[in-house]
Amino acid sequence: MTQVLAIMVLPLFLLAGIVAAAVLDRAVPPLVAGRSLKASFVGPITVASSRAMGQTGATEHPDTISWILAPILYFTLAAIGLSVVPFAPGVVAADLDAGIVLWGACESLTVVAVFLHGWSANSPLPLIGAYRYVAIGLPAMLLSMFVLIAAALPAQSLAVTDIVEAQRSVWNIVRQPAGFVLFLMLGLSLSLRGPFDFADPYDLAGGTTAEISGAARLTWWLARLAMLVSVSAMTATVFLGGYLGPVLPGFVWLVVKTGLVLVVLVGAGEVFARLPPDRMMNLIWLALLPLSFLMLVAVGVELLLWG
């Protein structure tokens, strides 16, 4: 019964998250640019309607099926990733023993979706964007896996529900602060944002989106926002104790924490510079991977000594 409840709540959660993310996306850049803050709910809706109108666009001989499937797959992956997140004690859409493995599968399939999106266009700029993203998306996944495994150690389980319960004594952000930061980076990479936006950047005139318009662009935009929401909820669950918290009901706590991570991610996307892809690849393999590794060792040692 609680599962049915979770399945009903999830679309609403995702929808609310997408709206919030879209509003933040319009509010945060002016804030960073030092202009007056004009947050409005109407803005994103008008932009969405504007995108919904008009032709979709195509090139001479694109891989039409893949081009249609890529944003749909991306959006679906965001929803599946969110399905392992418990909204309240026992309220989870997909209570799997291997929840974080399912999350990992969503991450790796996201790389496939983004690649497919750029490849299908049969146009040089999207193509470069697609290949660039693979170079970063693949190793970035390794980081998140190490971090999630370190989170699974104290829980003695791969289920996300158990990981939340294991944080009753201490949140995982305290156990592995660097892991939290690494996971935020992964969030940026999954939702193609700011310093990790290697698929749709300005220097490729929009990268994988350079050839699309209309409904295709709208879907891709929604999928990116959905993935952002999904990553935020996952971060809040794995590192910030999910629904745990005093006084307020669990669901409210989850929403508050997810919102907080959302703000951090949108902000980080605006204020940090993007490295060229080759340097980013180097950085991930040679600095961030050893760091995630150290975090894992630290959690292991802590559990051995005091666990």
Partner: protein
Amino acid sequence: MALEGLAGALVIAFVAASIATVIRLAPSGSAESLTEPQKTPFLGGGAPDTHAWQRYHIRYYPMTLLFIAFEMEMMFMYPWAVVFVEEGGKAMMEMGMFLAILSVGIVYGWREGIFRWQ
């Protein structure tokens, strides 16, 4: 538990995919079909000679090969994480050894310069 979880995930996947499909394929209000000049790939004004699909020269291909071998270690690490607390020091040592072996591969790859754009 596994079957219910799978069912939940599949239901969510189906719903999400349906919503995305409806948005993607919704009628746009513009019935005109695309013309040939409209379909020229965007290059800022120029027109390309050839198709963009090509034997694309990936600049990080050694990295991907190292990656698929290294990434296999995850398969072993997930079950390890579940029993880590139970097994304690032994688990730590065995996984330490395993990862140390694989790290040699990364260090070797780094020395050969495979993390650069080739």
